[in-house]
């Protein structure tokens, strides 16, 4: 059962990673990166590493996404 859940999550994170690389819109790419880190935090939890899972969830999906969005906004502003 656990391995099914892990496989589903792994495939979902691969799909997210594909979107993060190949999507036309940068916003979608940033959101996909956040999704990938959220899924990997669940995978860390399944691997019995709650500390790493918490770090990944808060830094990977919240802080990095916010910083990416701020950077994207700044780039758009400077490029007109």
């Amino acid at each position: 059962m656990l391995i099914v859940l892990a496989s589903v999550l792994g495939i979902a994170s691969m799909v997210g990673a594909y979107f993060a690389i190949h999507s036309k819109s940068l916003t979608v790419a940033i959101i996909a990166t956040g999704v990938v880190s959220l899924i990997s935090s669940i995978l860390f939890l399944l691997l019995a590493a709650p500390d790493v899972a918490m770090t990944e969830a808060s830094i990977g999906s919240a802080l990095t996404s916010a910083i990416f969005f701020l950077t994207l906004n700044k780039i758009r502003q400077t490029n007109g």
Partner: protein, 236 residues
């Protein structure tokens, strides 16, 4: 020979290289020597219920100090480089009006998020989590504050004070163990910090104190990075 054929060939070659690794892999049922040592002696030597914390703060305390230093350097470099773009910025930003729902909910949620972060790092020796996680949670509360009030400014003086004080206290606690008890640097054996009962909130020697200051430091640094990024936003 197209690009896609090349990619397929490279993938195949990689699979050929990696497959023997997969074939010979069998998950280790027993722990290695170091892990076994931590499990056997960790609770007696550090008094922390959460073994990860005892490894992070006590056994590998110097590495944690290095990590905090790296984080500090990263934050400093980011603020240094983003301060260049501040000079020529026009101080008008177009801000969409924020709804009352968001401002009100921020007033309710931000204290809760801060409290959760503090809970994580104060309970670092009992439950999963610790200084880094708590600090990151506090910084995500700061994101919410920036979202609800775009003109909100972090006080750099407060951030610098919190950040430097907690860094100094962290090093001083580590040095106190080395000087006063003739132990090692960051050895968790400091007079006045008893081990207490394993599992209670006041236990594990200096670990909760170190983790509290670590959490404050990490939270201040990450919030500073966010604040610098938000401040560098401008519109011509």
């Amino acid at each position: 020979m197209g690009k896609k054929t090349m990619i397929a060939l490279i993938t195949l070659a990689l699979a050929f290289v990696i497959y023997p690794l997969y074939q010979s892999y069998n998950g280790s049922e027993t722990l290695k020597d170091v892990g076994q040592y931590y499990i056997d002696n960790g609770v007696e030597e550090t008094g922390a219920q959460n073994l990860v914390t005892s490894v992070v703060v006590t056994y590998r305390g110097l590495d944690t100090l290095g990590e905090v230093t790296i984080l500090f350097l990263a934050a400093s470099v980011i603020s240094f480089f983003l301060s260049f773009s501040k000079n020529d910025r026009i101080k008008s930003r177009s801000i969409r009006s924020v709804t009352e729902i968001l401002t009100t909910s921020t007033q309710v949620l931000v204290p809760m998020i801060f409290m959760f972060g503090v809970y994580i790092f104060v309970n670092g020796h009992l439950t999963p989590g610790g200084g880094f996680q708590g600090g990151a949670v506090i910084a995500s509360g700061i994101i919410l504050m920036f979202l609800s009030n775009p003109r909100f400014k972090l006080s750099h003086k407060v951030i610098q004070f919190v950040e430097s004080t907690s860094g100094i206290v962290f090093v001083l606690i580590g040095a106190a163990g080395a000087l006063m008890m003739d132990g090692d640097f960051l050895s968790n054996k400091i007079p006045g910090f008893g081990f207490g009962e394993v599992g209670s909130i006041i236990s594990a020697g200096a670990i909760p104190v170190i983790y509290t200051f670590l959490g404050l430091k990490v939270g201040a640094e990450l919030s500073n990075v966010l604040g610098v990024f938000v401040e560098s936003q401008s519109e011509k």
